[in-house]
Symmetry: C2
Subunit: 417 residues, 2 copies
């Protein structure tokens, strides 16, 4: 079964806000067997909303709309839908009480704009917002369903998870779609496609393979579809087993794994600890690691040594080495890794030193040059990377490369390099 | 003038990739006076591409397509467009040479899949890809233009900036659209809308106001449109002056400013320095600050004190205080701020200690409880925040709250609280 998403908001079209809602909704709809056929991002304009809704209802029987439900004047979705479904607005007491409660909790005085949020189309089934103020609405017309939700991500997500997805599941009967991701790091898309060419040729027709690269991580997505869930799961499992045999050294995880999650699992299972000493990554490695719930069990802390003074004083980097080799060098990054490991008394450590840019590059060490070291009970290992010219990309790619180096160190994969 | 964007990729519809390309393109098109009327995100499917292109060409005379140009089999955009424009594929030597050069630089052996990337529709004007391998294509039909680019963000951006946007500017004549953002922090959307109600009423008809909230920052976007650029600029400037008079204490910047950029500007202008001591934010404050180019001029470094051992040993937090008050307390966060400031010898410091969740909450200190301190020559100031239940949101909101607290400390705005 197919659904469409209509994302309403001028801020999306002029690019002030990235449409992350649609991606999340696509994932969640997929889990209950619904494919998103199209996402249409449109403006806060009555005619545009009406046209997009007409188009979407011609193609599919389920349309999810987000955005345009705020208390301010630029938000017109509710009024447009009331007119579209020929349904006058009436005050809803449950919504009113919830808005009142929500504002009270935040110590905000209720005003007329908030009060209007409790006026809803008479014909719609109303879902109360427990994370904000604007309610969600469910309209039915000729066995088709149109759902309108706020565009604020956490409000939309709470609606979807708690109320909308279960209602959709009950209302529609659907086919099974199963996606499995195999996550790889360490090679390039075309190279991987070449290695997997024979694998692709033999894939059964129910299974599709896609390559999804970002910042060096390439996701391989296997999608299977059919009526029998058990059968598809079995076929996908079989194909994934083959992948593990063809490209073992590139695979680091599955599904929503990330390098930091994998490292967390490895360290927790061995009861081992980690710290970092970061120069060019400026804390991003520590930040990535600590996004993982429970990271306090294995992550002790970091020294962000942005200035050379801190590299010397807090990490014990030798000032003569700094002088002679420069901060971006094998010697310095290894001293950083060893210094922080000793001082923070952990099993492993990661260190980075590089030129993130845009300034600071030289002929010998251009912008994008980054030294990364990992230290542990088997000694210190370091490697030079040359990324690109973009500061943010360099920080992000250094972070991933550092996490991958540690993963390989822990799993004994460094010898394969 | 209006354009439409067609984003092609199953990964966008099932939500494995967020469509950040469309947002960026919207911003850039706006700068040359083109409004994006609609973004349609569709699948790697021939019929769907043809239908979406037909629909878009009915509504606008410029269509930008991204995605589906990779070397792998799931990418069919080029073949679909060649058929749509009835144009056979021919080998392009310039593209071939560039692909060869690009792969050589990355030490990748050229394979048949790469070679095929140099086959392009005969009728299209071709732009060579200097950041990757797939070329961009420009088709013209009945005074309308269709442009196809790779979906890899940095390749698309390089194409747009260097080749596509200048070509569009030359080909079409356009109206002027000017957006100005005023960035606020410290109040809520409905409250701000109430305060600005009179301001909204008096806005001239050329100017539109929108509220764009994220994580506590509310962007006020003023958009002006017309034929005379100077006139619109003047009107917008006048309205912005009024905003500064109505809500001075909430405004922290304009346009693409961020709290970290503003802090950077403030510190550089005074030649002052900063360091952080982070527990629950796990390095995110340092990371945000060091995304700013030139941050090494004012940012010295950090102690990420995830474990209490590091709080004591590296920041000099009193063990009796830790025992008695707990790590998430005014006393501890103030000792962290003062400890790191002394040790790293900076003018200012920021410290955080909180319960990011999902575990670790108690009745007295629920998940989302965060203490933040700033220290400087005028003493130490700390404040307790209570955010929500989501770990990532708590880390992000703590980071913004901490940066704002520092900004207010530096600008003398703390007295107003």
């Amino acid at each position: 079964m197919y659904a469409e998403i209509i994302s309403i908001g001028d801020e999306l079209l002029i690019g002030q806000t990235i449409n992350s809602n649609a991606a999340w909704m696509g994932q969640e709809l997929n889990k209950i067997g619904i494919d998103v056929y199209q996402v249409s991002t449109i403006s806060d304009d009555k005619n545009h909303i009406v046209n997009a809704l007409n188009d979407a209802l011609k193609r599919t029987k389920l349309v999810l709309i987000t955005g345009g439900l705020g208390p301010t004047r630029d938000d017109i979705t509710k009024y447009t839908l009331a007119e579209y479904f020929n349904s006058p607005l009436v005050r809803n007491e449950k919504v009113y009480n919830q808005v009142e409660k929500m504002l009270k909790k935040r110590s905000i005085q209720m005003n007329d704009l908030n009060r209007k949020q409790a006026d809803v189309p008479e014909k719609a089934h109303i879902f109360v917002n427990y994370a904000g103020t604007a309610p969600a609405m469910w309209f039915e017309v000729n066995k088709k369903v149109v759902i309108s939700m706020p565009g604020v991500p956490y409000e939309m997500k709470e609606f979807m998870t708690e109320q909308i997805l279960p209602s959709i599941s009950r209302y529609f009967k659907t086919q099974v779609i199963i996606h499995r991701n195999i996550l790889t790091y360490g090679t390039f898309e075309a190279k991987l496609a070449e290695i997997l060419s024979g694998f692709e040729d033999q894939l059964p027709r129910e299974i599709k393979l896609a390559y999804l690269p970002t910042d060096g991580v390439i996701k391989l997505r296997l999608s299977g579809r059919g009526d029998n869930k058990e059968k598809i799961l079995k076929i996908i499992d079989r194909e994934i087993d083959k992948l593990y045999k063809i490209i073992p050294k590139y695979i680091f995880g599955e599904q929503d794994d990330s390098l930091e999650k994998c490292i967390g699992v490895l360290l927790k299972s061995k009861n081992e600890t980690l710290c970092t000493a970061e120069s060019c990554t400026g804390g991003m490695i520590a930040h990535q690691i600590t996004t993982v719930p429970g990271s306090s069990e294995f992550f002790i802390g970091s020294v962000i040594a942005y200035s050379n003074r801190i590299k010397e004083k807090e990490l014990g980097v030798n000032s003569a080495t700094l002088e002679k080799e420069g901060a971006v060098s094998r010697q310095v990054v290894e001293q950083m890794a060893e210094g922080v490991r000793e001082r923070y008394d952990t099993v492993y450590s990661i260190a980075t030193s590089g030129i993130a840019g845009p300034a600071g590059g030289t002929l010998e060490k251009p912008v994008g040059t980054v030294w990364i070291a990992v230290a542990g009970n088997n000694g210190t290992y370091s490697r030079k990377f040359i990324f690109g010219n973009n500061r943010i990309n360099n920080i992000r790619r250094s972070t991933l490369a550092a996490l991958n180096l540690l993963r390989q160190y822990i799993t004994g994969g460094l010898e394969q390099l």
